[in-house]
Amino acid sequence: MNGEVLAFWVLAVGLVGSALNVVLSKNLFHSVLWLAAALVGTAGIFIALDAEFLGAVQVLLYAGGVITVVVFAIVVTERLVGERLSQTSRRILGGAVVAVGVLAMVLNVIRRSGIDMPRPEMTADITKWMGISLLTQFLLPFELLGVLLLAGLLAATYFARPEE
């Protein structure tokens, strides 16, 4: 068992465990924390796939930023209610059936597709390549993304502004 396999299994078990906790935890705050764990685990998977830059971005943006905002939202709303947010679930059976069904289908497709291929050797610096193509080939999407983020920021500010 080499390092990659070990890392994969550790990450996979951690990921699946955290993800299950995200959806099963009764406490919304715990769910968010587990989501943070899952996101960090995803970053680990990215790094295992040699995409260190993406892993770092994932942690920086998601785990750092998003989780913070989510927690913030919970606390703000909870404080408005004045009681702890426990969240109930419903249709657990139906949801489980559908989720497991979808999973079975997808796994079946993966199994039958014969998609496995050798993992090619890394030839170039992916981070560098990404940086260059972001400012050349993907400049327009990149700029549009900036506009989108700005619009999202403004919209969020507008929605969440205090009532006059």
Partner: protein
Amino acid sequence: MPLSAYLSLAAVLFSIGLFGVITRRNTVGILLGVELMLNAVNINFVAFSRFHGTALGMIFTLFAICITVAEIALGLALVILLFRMRRTSTADHIDWLKG
């Protein structure tokens, strides 16, 4: 690890996220499930990208992450707004569209 291992892991994550989206009553909880699903998709992108030897998928993932961040910000703003108007963050209570 083979590609199918990564894909299967992503599939499991996706299904778990789906389960969460279906079963959660709370809007924030639904959002968390969506996040899990998006993550699964991102894993697929990166895995395919890595195994095909092209970084296009990673670029896409980068965009996906950024857009998700925007989406989260907006979604949470909406949750807060909804909360202000209806004093609840339970999705079941938001049924203005009831036929």
